[in-house]
């Protein structure tokens, strides 16, 4: 098959907030273009994983090729799906880089949200053609006029340019497809130059190995040719090349502007990284496409099996997940409190939650995770520098300085909550960069915030202080020096590693009091008094006591009581295996879980 004329190709993505109906609209397009028939339509065809489907979000983007005729001319539309969450902003930027146009999809009942805005800015930076679309116009609560105005204000142009569709009923979808053909610039590239294709996604498939999604920028990739990854210099034979429409279909090759997939037989997505450039081995390109970045975990958490004997199963599961997730890292660690586990690195909190949920659901593991933390860069007086990913490994001794990652955060909110949000950001060591009105009653606030503060229940707080109306987006913005200390928690003088935390000096006391109070309620009374302390170094900042247990005896033990008591003892003996011992203090694992849970539950 000869390659398509690039003039007849339109590559676009849909930028939308979770719940704004992107998947439904995408499904509609698949049906309208005849790629999928109504009958076999799975709901949300593009979101393959269960978790994604349940959460209504897209983690892994994919690309579908659809034919669409305007006038007498048939065009090829490539719809590139984008991940919809803040943790995956780099992946989003690569998906955008594979397109010339973006459909900016906004719920006509809710208006634009912070993440959508952030992605819109990315698209504008990438010089994409933006097609503003209001979705869900069938809803009674829809206010299309209001939000058309808001969109016009954001991207310029008139509110009338804003298309109005309903993914649910199909209204306006054909017009949108026409508009994509008319408004999105066709791809431009040098067909005779050495091949360069941008990897915008890479997915591990247990049958086929890694499936790499690419957009060809220059030149041509052919089946059976040898290709090279420009960042790693690794070369592979192309076992298969093709397009998705909607199932993978092998082709002879991919030319300028085309979007499709490659299979080389590699087994690990790290060998086929998002953002990397694919070129031909025989005539390699000299220069890679711009914008490649090594994925770097930003948030760390210890994952431990509740049942210690599940440790090998956890390790196997992590090995498997890693194949499909280049940003996810882990290494073994041991905790006195929690036993054997792994310190895992994630792009962000959602990424953490997703991995955790997959481990529990797909691999049937019961896990405890420690409170998430960021990476600290600690410089000692002697000039040595440490990267600390686990608070309990925070160096003791003469610390010259500590740097922590900071982010640039964008918060969109109805104007009535501005004060509440400013208070929140203030209490989280935020520095305001600016604020703008999106419309009469909607505001964009921009802050510099320590990532550590966002990791600690910021999102929950934001939602609860704004009745759920505010939305948040953030992107890494380097590191900053801060006055940070390590707070340890001690039981009977023994440090409990799982509860150590690095906090700002001004908040150390509050953290100590909170943790100590929480543990006092959770630790069962022992035959001796158990002091619980929070300390910075050797300085105790908070203390509570679990009083000694005085009475633990069955009053009557006759006849049938004997059998019942023995069975209870047998059960308790079993339960004792799940007890963790800190010093001489026996603590049921449930207490650890409860003590850790209130921090981890926040990023929903």
């Amino acid at each position: 098959m000869s390659s398509l004329d690039a003039q007849l190709i339109r590559n676009f993505c849909i930028i939308a907030h979770i719940d704004h109906g992107k998947s439904t609209l995408a499904d509609r397009m698949l049906v309208k273009t005849g790629v999928v028939d109504q009958r076999t339509m799975r709901d949300q065809y593009l979101d393959r994983m269960d978790i994604e489907r349940e959460r209504g979000i897209t983690i892994k983007s994919q690309a579908v090729r659809m034919p669409w005729t305007v006038g007498d001319q048939e065009y090829t539309l490539n719809m590139i799906d984008t991940p919809g969450h803040v943790d995956f902003s780099y992946e989003v930027s690569r998906s955008l880089a594979a397109c010339e146009g973006a459909v900016l999809l906004v719920d006509a009942a809710q208006g634009i949200e912070a993440q959508t805005l952030a992605n819109l800015y990315l698209a504008l930076e990438g010089d994409l053609d933006i097609i503003p679309v209001l979705n869900k116009i069938d809803l009674p609560a829809a206010q299309p006029d209001k939000y058309a105005e808001e969109l016009a204000h954001l991207i310029g142009g008139s509110p009338d340019d804003c298309l109005r569709v309903s993914g649910k009923t199909g209204q306006g979808v054909a017009e949108l497809l026409d508009d994509i053909v008319r408004q999105v610039t066709p791809p431009a590239g040098d067909a005779d130059a050495p091949a360069r294709a941008l990897i915008f996604d890479s997915v591990y498939d247990s049958y086929r190995g890694v499936v790499t999604y690419v957009r060809v920028v220059d030149g041509h990739l052919s089946a059976r040719e040898r290709i090279a990854m420009m960042s790693t210099k690794a070369s592979h034979e192309l076992l298969e090349i093709g397009v998705i429409s909607p199932e993978p279909t092998p082709t002879a090759g991919l030319a300028v502007g085309e979007v499709g997939y490659l299979i080389t037989g590699v087994k690990d997505v790290r060998q086929s990284r998002v953002g990397d450039t694919v070129t031909g081995s025989t005539r390699p390109a000299q220069e890679a496409l711009a914008g490649y970045r090594d994925p770097k975990p930003m948030v760390f958490s210890g994952l431990y099996p509740i049942d210690g004997s599940d440790y090998p199963a956890l390790r196997d599961a992590l090995d498997k997940l890693k194949l499909n997730d280049a940003a996810f890292t882990y290494e073994p660690e041991t905790s006195a409190a929690l036993g054997f586990g792994f310190r895992c690195g994630f792009l962000g909190l959602l990424h953490l939650e997703i991995i955790r949920e997959r481990l529990e659901r797909e691999f049937g593991l019961d896990l405890i995770s420690t409170a998430p933390n960021v990476v600290y860069e600690v410089t000692l007086d002697d000039g040595s520098v440490y990267q600390v990913t686990n608070p309990s490994e925070f160096p003791v001794g003469k610390i010259a300085s500590v740097r922590e990652p900071i982010v640039r955060a964008t918060i969109l909110t109805p104007s009535e909550f501005t004060g509440a949000i400013m208070d929140l950001c203030q209490s989280r060591r935020g520095a305001m960069l600016g604020m703008d009105y999106l419309s009469q009653d909607r505001l964009e606030l921009r802050y510099i915030l320590p990532l550590a503060e966002i990791v600690f229940d910021f999102f929950d707080q934001l939602k609860s202080r704004t009745k759920g109306y505010a939305s948040l987006d953030y992107e890494p913005d380097g590191t900053a020096e801060a006055d940070l200390v390590k707070v340890d928690v001690l039981l009977q003088g023994e440090q409990v590693d799982a509860f150590s935390a690095i906090v700002h000096k001004d908040k150390a006391y509050a953290y100590g009091v909170m943790m100590v109070g929480r543990l006092r309620k959770l630790i069962p009374r022992q035959q001796f008094e158990v002091p619980i302390q929070a300390a910075i170094g050797s300085r105790v900042i908070a203390r509570e006591n679990v009083r000694a247990l005085r009475k633990d005896v069955l009053a009557k033990c006759y006849g049938g009581d004997i059998t019942r008591k023995r069975k209870l003892l047998e059960k308790q003996k079993e339960g004792k295996k799940r007890m963790k011992t800190i010093g001489r203090v026996e603590i049921p694992q449930e207490a650890f879980i409860a003590a850790l849970a209130s921090d981890v539950d926040s990023p929903k």
Partner: protein
């Protein structure tokens, strides 16, 4: 030699249900109570026949290894369904399944004295006829102080009862009301006197830690009990059983919660006052004059065989444990149809037997032979000693005393003949024993968990 054999008869009736109680007991009229007596008599007959069947099969067991005894069903089953150790257990324990005289009989409830004295006498008579009652055996009936008078007590004594266990609970009317107990505490001395006149030994039961009970209330009850001059007192911490009206009222905030620390204080007060009055501690919740321990209850903690009669009653013969259906109606229906009222059962393996041994012996003043502990259990001992929860007692040959009032006790020898496991004393040439300290008694379950 076989350990003592004893019989428990559960009388599942009360005049009213008390708010704290979750025992298997019902409010029922005289016809149902009469019917129960007939059912209990039928079960006693059945129990005797079962033991005969099992006892006569000693030779069979010895010759055919894979034979399993299930005395609860009165049958022998053969086959491979049994656990591997069963033949050994069976041949080891077979002599314990033969019919032999009861060393003690105990009527509990419920309120056994809701039955007429004649009905109780019939039941004791049946035990004597079917199993025999050993000379000097202890025959106890639990009683509610407001249901009995002198004639009733004399009838019981004449029928062979030797001991009365009175549910005194408290001397404070407000606390009795909180427990739904209707008796007049002022009647206690009179009942105790009448019982003594009838020749019955008397024990009283007390409950501490009732919501609203002050330390002074408890002390008043303790002194009132001691003033009765009884030779045996049981003092039980009120334990809140789920699904009782009291548990619901506490959950709803209508009653004060039970404070275990205060219960501990009350226990210590009781122990001090009792020991000061010459009542020695011999089990977690029991104190007596030397030699006046309840031999029936000691049997539960020192490995006796016990056969329970009545709805929901549990039986334990050698390694077999089984229990009857709880409902008196289902119980009666089974017996009327000539079927066993057994609802379920299990065979205890060596591990379960060992666990029970630690759990039960540790409750007693005689304590637990160190030799009965596993290696890991023994390893826990030094810490427990250091924490003041247990002490290790050297073997001694102090012999058991006889109860001064119950003159027969010494002769017939539950204490001396059948089981050496009575209060205080040690075994001649025995091994060191582990005995709970006063603080350890209050943490007996915790200590047990560390020893098993």
């Amino acid at each position: 030699m076989a350990p003592p054999f004893q019989i428990y008869v559960h009388v599942p009736f009360c005049a009213r249900r008390c708010g704290y109680c979750d025992f298997n007991t019902y409010v029922a009229g005289p016809e149902r109570r009469r019917a129960f007596v007939n059912h209990a008599l039928a079960e006693l007959e059945m129990a005797g026949a079962e033991l005969d069947a099992a006892g006569s099969l000693r030779s069979v067991v010895n010759n055919h290894a894979p034979t399993v005894l299930t005395p609860g069903s009165g049958m022998l089953t053969s086959g491979n369904a049994a656990v591997g150790a069963a033949p050994t257990l069976a041949s080891r324990f077979i002599h314990r399944l033969a019919r032999r005289p009861a060393q003690s009989v105990f009527f509990g409830g419920g309120t056994p004295t809701l039955l007429s004295a004649v009905e109780l006498a019939r039941l004791v008579g049946a035990v004597r006829r079917i199993f025999g009652i050993a000379p000097g055996a202890e025959v106890t009936v639990e009683a509610n102080p407001d249901t009995i008078g002198p004639v009733y007590l004399e009838t019981l004594a004449a029928a062979g009862f030797t001991r009365l266990s009175l549910g005194m609970q408290s001397a404070v009317p407000r606390i009795l009301a909180a427990l739904d107990r209707s008796h007049d505490p002022a009647r206690l001395p009179e009942v105790v006197r009448a019982a003594a006149q009838a020749g019955l030994d008397v024990s009283v039961d007390l409950i501490y830690g009732t919501p609203g009970e002050s330390l002074a209330d408890w002390e008043a009850s303790l002194r009132a009990a001691l003033d009765l001059g009884v030779r045996h007192i049981s003092a039980y911490a009120l334990s809140l059983e789920p699904h009782t009206p009291m548990a619901r009222r506490i959950a709803a905030g209508q009653l004060a919660a039970i404070d275990p620390d205060q219960q501990a204080e009350k226990y210590e007060l009781a122990d001090r006052l009792f020991q000061g009055a010459g009542l020695h501690w011999y089990e977690i919740s029991n104190w007596s004059r030397p030699g006046c321990e309840s031999r029936h209850n000691l049997g539960y903690w020192t490995g006796a065989d016990w056969r329970g009669i009545g709805p929901g009653a549990h039986s334990s013969m050698a390694a077999e444990r089984w229990w009857n259906v709880k409902s008196p109606v289902a119980y009666g229906r089974a017996l009327e149809a000539g079927r066993s009222p057994k609802a379920g059962g299990e065979r205890l393996d060596q591990a379960a037997l060992a666990l029970e041994r630690v759990m039960l012996r540790l409750r007693t003043a005689r304590g637990l032979d160190l030799a009965a502990l596993s290696d890991s259990g023994r390893a826990a001992v030094p810490d427990l000693v250091a924490e003041g929860l247990v002490r290790v007692v050297a073997p001694s040959d102090r012999s058991a005393a006889a109860c001064p009032g119950g003159a027969e006790a010494g002769e017939a020898g539950f204490a001396t003949q059948a089981s050496p496991d009575v209060s205080g004393g040690g075994t001649p040439g025995g091994v060191p024993r582990l005995v709970l300290t006063r603080r350890g008694r209050l943490l007996a379950d915790l200590v047990t968990r560390q020893l098993v």
